[in-house]
Amino acid sequence: MGQVAVTGVGAVCGLGWGVDALWQGLRAGRSGIGPFARFDHSQHRTHLAAEAPEADSPDLSRRCPGWRRLSIADRFALFAALEAMEQAGLDPTTGTMPPEDVGVYFGSSTGGMYESELFFGDFLRDPRRARLSALVAQQVNAPGDAVARQLGATGPVATFSSACASGALALGAALAAVRSGLVDVAIAGGSDSLCQLTYAGFNALRSVDEAPCRPFRADRAGMSFGEGAAVLVLEPLERALARGAEPLAVLAGAGSSCDAHHMTAPDPTGAGAAAAVEAALADAGLAAGAVDFVNVHGTGTPLNDAAEWQALRRVFGERAGEVPLVATKALLGHLLGSSGAIEAVATVLCLQRGELHPVRREGEADPELPVSLVLDAPLFLPDMRAAVSTSLAFGGSNAALVFSRWAGPAA
């Protein structure tokens, strides 16, 4: 079984449009969580989110037909996909990439729900007033389809919607497709935009913090919302090297599991989450001792972080408290169906650049969760070899990805 390289990444999130904006924000520990304007939230219980900056929003209408009619989630997806393809040096219009050998694997939890809400508001008041065209891209599969349509891909296209694990599960499916030879190039990621349904829903569950989220801290009180998209281009390492591409990292393994415990509460023993990580490590052929850091799911809810700590203890044993943890959601908020994808991009960037991004030290450490969270300043680890990224979702769906550092063909 050959290795699978990551040859391009693209992202949009509350820190800005593009991977450079993402990385600069991450390494500075800058939070994108703050007041937002996507919808009127004055009647909601909380009032913060990491909203993609509208002022920086690119106009891709020349490259992408119908850009102005696309949902926000579709625009995020297209932007991230085009950025990732450009970095990978792949251009579907040049004939160097047979369209039938390109697959698109995407995750989303709500697709164009924001636009659907605008439609339903009109429709339920007066069906004659509502514009049906607003519903065309409301499907959960719309962002992935939009990417395939834009790139002219004719290989497999599949959208996974397993709540917060969607993006990571899509990457796992993409990895399997590349390994099996089903596709030569997989464009994998996720996209979700802010919408009232999820904002009100998680608030109804009292899972949202009124302040920016503080994963693993003693006074953590819930998650913060984010939005955006992330895309990774995957291809066989040998193929990438043969065409002169520079791999950013290797996607070495993927694993998934289900808690089978409760619709919203995680299994407090962490057994399900640990099973996903152990499956991913086995898939990568790595022992837990080879892992240099973990990009944790780290939502900041009391129950999730406690369960994740138990999972880390199961996987890493006595070393659990020493493994550096990166908590990307503290800066980007929770991107829901796209979170696994953008945290995968963050993991790749950390591995590639030899430094782990910090989060601000907010509140006291939780003595019950003695983790080694990277706080306040980047942690430089130039000799890193491997990292794990975890996604633990509503409904008990767990996914884990293992990335290896690419240190050149001789390494």
Binding site: V157, A173, A260
Partner: protein
């Protein structure tokens, strides 16, 4: 693929009632099973579609506990009931929980809960949103509830790819077994058809409208087709490795010989494209994975639904894949089961297991432009190789190749 994945159980609920025996009887009779949709909310056009293939009341009795019935969304209830039915059909009563995966497709997710939540949020204020409705509004609620009900701790995956979703779920589930990640998979699909969803599909012009006699019929590949009958229900299959089935002395209804998918980038969102050559290439690749050629196919169980342009594309794809050679018999069970809810998936397994697919409900005359005459099933020998097809509005296409069961 290392060894065929076996289908050892089917659980299905739909307009035909609950259980594959009732579905087989409905397919053999070829009788349309649509009933009146509740139009009292005022969502529908005055002259719009009136009928859908709805699950009759009382079909869940005995499959769910009162607590489950109380807290689950309609799709979760259907999916859990179908899963238990499938396990019973397979002769399974638990076991292998750590290595049992769940892969469920849904086109629209829990629409009832989403609609109520949106009304609460938009008209009563966001603090009115019900937490219990929200947790059962996510697309993966049915898969999660199956896992909880059956203690299935393998992968839990929800696939959303509209009409191609059920076959993608079948393929994704088979891949879990083929790669050794699971020993047993519950793979299938679920959807509910609410009055709001029905009204919106009709406003998009997707649904069959009444003819001169007023009856709405799907008429796949037919000259008079003018849309599909919306359906609802759930179908869940038990997939197992050959080794697993042999170990427990089980019996297979069918073998999954190959699966595949492709995309037509010429398709607009929610519409049909012109890219039949690309889709035909995907179909042929799927057959090649099973070591088969188009000529080896004994029966096509087509996802044609009566959609005007969708059926045209499906016909073009089949003719292109066969390169102009005569097609094998083609059946279109969605004329009976409706679109969405798993009727196609269950029908395909029944066909591979030897059930006769009868005349297509509402069939009058072939569309001369499409060149496909539906079989009435009356004189067909049991097929050895069944190709199942499903194209989706928006561009996706998926296929599965099924063989007769063994054991």
């Amino acid at each position: 693929m290392s060894a065929p994945v076996l289908v050892t159980g089917v659980g299905t609920l739909g307009c035909w009632g609950s259980g594959s025996e009732l579905l087989a009887a409905a397919l053999a009779a070829g009788v349309p099973l649509a009933s009146e949709v509740d139009r009292s909310a005022g969502y529908h056009l005055a002259n719009g579609a009136r009928r859908a293939c709805l699950v009759p009341a009382g079909q869940l009795a005995g499959w769910l506990s009162p607590g489950e019935s109380r807290r689950m969304s309609p799709p979760s209830k259907l999916a859990v009931a179908a899963s238990r039915m499938a396990l019973e059909c397979a002769g399974l009563d638990g076991g292998e929980e750590e290595r049992t995966a769940v892969v469920i497709a849904t086109a629209f997710g829990p629409s009832t809960n989403t609609e109520i939540l949106l009304k609460q949020i938009l008209f009563e204020g966001p603090e009115s949103a019900s937490p219990s409705l929200f947790m059962e509004s996510v697309a993966n609620a049915p898969a999660a509830q199956i896992a909880i009900a059956l203690k299935a701790r393998g992968s839990s995956l929800t696939v959303c790819q509209r009409e191609a979703g059920p076959l993608l779920a079948l393929g994704t589930g088979a891949a879990e077994i083929d790669a050794g990640r699971a020993r047993r998979v519950l793979a299938g699909t679920v959807d509910e058809m609410t009055p709001l969803l029905h009204a919106l599909l009709d406003r998009f012009g997707a649904l069959a409208r009444g003819g001169p006699e007023g009856e709405e019929l799907a008429r796949p590949f037919g000259r008079g087709r003018n849309g599909f009958l919306a359906g609802e229900g759930a179908t869940v299959l038990v997939l197992e490795s050959a080794e697993s089935v042999a170990d427990r002395g089980g019996k297979a209804l069918a073998r999954v010989l190959a699966w595949g998918s492709a995309f037509d980038p010429t398709a607009p969102p929610s519409g049909w494209g012109q890219g039949h050559h690309a889709l035909a290439r995907g179909l042929r690749r799927t057959l090649e994975r099973a070591g088969l050629r188009p000529a080896d196919v004994d029966l096509v169980v087509s996802g044609a639904s009566g959609a005007r342009e969708g059926d045209r594309l499906e016909a073009q794809v089949l003719h292109a894949a066969w390169e102009g050679a005569p097609l094998p018999p083609v059946a279109a069970p969605k004329a009976v089961t409706g679109e969405y809810g798993g009727g196609l998936l269950a029908s395909a397994v029944l066909a591979a297991a030897g059930s006769r697919l009868g005349p297509a409900a509402g069939w009058q005359a072939a569309d001369p432009d499409l060149g496909i005459v539906l079989c009435d099933g009356s004189s067909l020998p049991a097929p050895a190789i069944v190709l199942v097809t499903s194209l989706a509005a928006g561009g996706a296409g998926a296929w599965a190749v099924l063989g007769r069961g063994v054991g």
